[in-house]
C-alpha cells in the first residue's frame, strides 16, 4: 500500500543499522545496573520501507509534502544531537540520553530519506549558536526542539492520506514525546505539563524554528568546528 507495506516493515527499517539499539545498550550498561531482558530494537522494531524513489512514487503529493516537512524537523534534531555529542560538552546522564536520542533522530532521518527517495528535501545548513557546547543550553534547547516536534507531528497526523504513513508517523510522534519528557526530566522541569498536548500548525512551527536562527543559508565559519554532520 502506497509503497509502504505494513507497519512492521516500516518499523524494521528505522533502525536497520542498529545504531539506536547500540546507543541504548551503551546507555544501559553504563547505568548503575544493566537492564536485563532488553531486546534489540531490531527485534520488535521498526519502519519505512526501502525502495529508493520507487516508494515515493506510490505516496500522494500531500503525504510527500508532509513527510518532507517531518524530514526537515528530523534533520534539525539529528544535527543538533550529533553536534552536541561531538562537542564533548555533555556529561553523565545527559550525555547518555543525547546518544540514545541522537541515534534515534538519525534513524528517523534515514527512514524518511529511504521512504522519500529522490523526492526527499536536502538537509539545510544549521548553526546552533553554541547551544551544543554547554550542557544547560543544550538541555533547554533540546526541550524546546522535542516539544516542538511533538506538536508538529500532532498537527500533521490527521492530514496524512496513507494509513501506512500515518501508522509510522504516530509511532514516531509518541517517541518524540518520550524524548521531550526525558529532556525535561534531565533539565529539571515537569516532563508532562498538561493533560492534553496541543498540536502546532506548520506556520507556527516555522515561526518558532525561524526564531531560533538555527537554519542558516551558509555555514558560519568557525576555526574550532567543522559544519559536517552525518546525522
Amino acid at each position: 500500500m502506497d509503497g509502504v507495506r505494513n507497519v512492521d516493515e516500516l518499523l524494521a527499517a528505522v533502525d536497520r543499522d542498529g545504531a539506536v539499539a547500540e546507543a541504548r545498550a551503551q546507555a544501559e550498561t553504563t547505568s548503575r545496573r544493566g537492564l536485563l531482558g532488553m531486546t534489540l530494537a531490531g527485534a520488535g522494531a521498526l519502519v519505512l520501507t526501502r525502495a529508493d524513489g520507487a516508494a515515493a512514487a506510490g505516496i500522494s503529493a500531500t503525504d510527500v509534502n508532509i513527510l518532507n516537512y517531518a524530514l526537515t524537523l528530523e534533520y534539525l534534531q539529528a544535527s543538533f544531537y550529533t553536534e552536541a555529542e561531538r562537542s564533548g560538552a555533555l556529561a553523565g546522564k545527559t550525555a547518555q540520553a543525547a546518544r540514545v536520542v541522537g541515534a534515534t533522530e538519525r534513524a528517523h532521518v534515514a527512514a524518511f530519506l529511504d521512504l522519500l527517495g529522490s523526492k526527499a528535501v536536502k538537509r539545510p545548513t544549521f548553526d546552533f549558536h553554541g547551544t551544543t557546547e554547554q550542557q544547560s543550553a543544550f538541555l533547554k534547547t533540546a526541550v524546546a526542539l522535542e516539544d516542538l516536534a511533538v506538536a508538529a507531528y500532532k498537527g500533521q497526523a490527521p492530514k496524512l492520506q496513507s494509513n501506512a504513513v500515518l501508522a509510522a508517523a504516530v509511532g514516531i510522534h509518541s517517541v518524540e514525546a518520550r524524548h521531550a519528557a526525558w529532556m525535561r526530566a534531565l533539565f529539571g522541569v515537569t516532563p508532562a505539563v498538561n493533560a492534553f498536548d496541543q498540536p502546532a500548525s506548520r506556520a507556527s512551527v516555522g515561526r518558532i524554528v525561524a526564531s531560533t536562527q538555527f537554519v542558516v543559508d551558509k555555514p558560519r565559519l568557525r576555526a574550532r568546528e567543522k559544519p559536517k554532520f552525518t546525522g
Binding site: 548503575r32 534515534t104 511533538v150 518520550r178 526530566a185 522541569v189 508532562a192
Partner: protein
C-alpha cells in the same frame, strides 16, 4: 532571540531514584492472550478495521475508556498504598490528574454509551514503590501502544483528540523511566498494539469487566 521555550516551569526534582529492571511490555500480553477477553466486543476488531466512522470511533473509545479507568484507579490506589515519596509521588499525582482529565474527556465523547467502570485487582502492583514503578511503565506503554494502534481506524476528528492524549501517556512513560534511571525512550518508533492485545494486557494487569 534564541530557542523559544513556551513553558519552562519550576524545577520538579532530580531524576535520581531507585533503579529497576525494565518490564517488557509484551510479557503480560503474551501471558494473558488465551484468557477471557476484557472488552469482549472489541476483541474481533483487530488492527485493520473498516473505514473510519462514528460507530467505529465509539467502539474504539470503549477500549480507550477501559484504559483510562485503569490508569486512574491504578494511580489512586498506588498513592494510597504504595508508600510513594519524592519524585515518585510527584509523578503519580501529576499522572493521576492527567488521567482523570483523559477519563472525563473519553466519557464525555461517549456520553450515555460509555461502558461500565471495570473492577480492579492490582495485587502487589500498588503495594510498594518498586512494584508501582515497574507497573506504571508497563501500563503507560500499553496506553501509548493502544492509542497508536487505533490511529488509522479513527475518524480525523477523533484522531485529533486521541493524539492530544497519546503523547501525554508517552511523556508519563518516559518520566517514570527517567525516575527509575532507565533509558527513557528505548525504541526509535513505538510499536502499536491491537485492541485484542490491549485487552489482554489490561486483563493481565488485574482489570476485569
Amino acid at each position: 532571540m534564541r530557542p523559544t521555550i513556551p513553558a519552562i516551569e519550576e524545577c520538579k526534582g532530580s531524576i535520581n531514584g531507585p533503579f529497576s529492571r525494565r518490564v517488557l511490555l509484551g510479557t503480560g500480553v503474551v501471558g494473558a492472550a488465551a484468557g477471557v477477553p476484557l472488552v469482549g466486543r472489541l476483541l474481533r476488531l483487530g488492527d485493520a478495521l473498516g473505514a473510519p466512522s462514528k460507530a467505529q470511533d465509539d467502539k474504539i473509545l470503549q477500549l480507550v475508556l477501559q484504559l483510562e479507568y485503569t490508569q486512574v484507579a491504578f494511580y489512586e490506589q498506588a498513592l494510597k498504598h504504595a508508600g510513594l515519596k519524592g519524585d515518585l509521588r510527584d509523578f503519580a499525582r501529576a499522572a493521576l490528574a492527567h488521567e482523570r482529565q483523559h477519563l472525563a474527556a473519553v466519557k464525555g465523547a461517549l456520553g450515555a454509551k460509555a461502558g461500565a467502570k471495570p473492577t480492579f485487582d492490582f495485587g502487589q502492583r500498588t503495594k510498594s514503590a518498586g512494584a508501582f514503578t515497574r507497573s506504571a511503565i508497563e501500563l503507560e506503554d500499553i496506553a501509548v501502544a493502544g492509542y497508536n494502534g487505533q490511529a488509522a481506524n479513527l475518524t480525523k476528528a477523533t484522531l485529533v483528540a486521541a493524539a492530544e492524549i497519546v503523547s501525554v501517556e508517552a511523556r508519563h512513560a518516559a518520566w517514570i523511566r527517567a525516575i527509575a534511571g532507565e533509558v527513557a525512550a528505548p525504541d526509535p518508533v513505538d510499536k502499536p498494539l491491537t485492541a485484542k492485545q490491549v485487552s489482554a494486557g489490561l486483563q493481565a494487569f488485574g482489570v476485569s469487566t
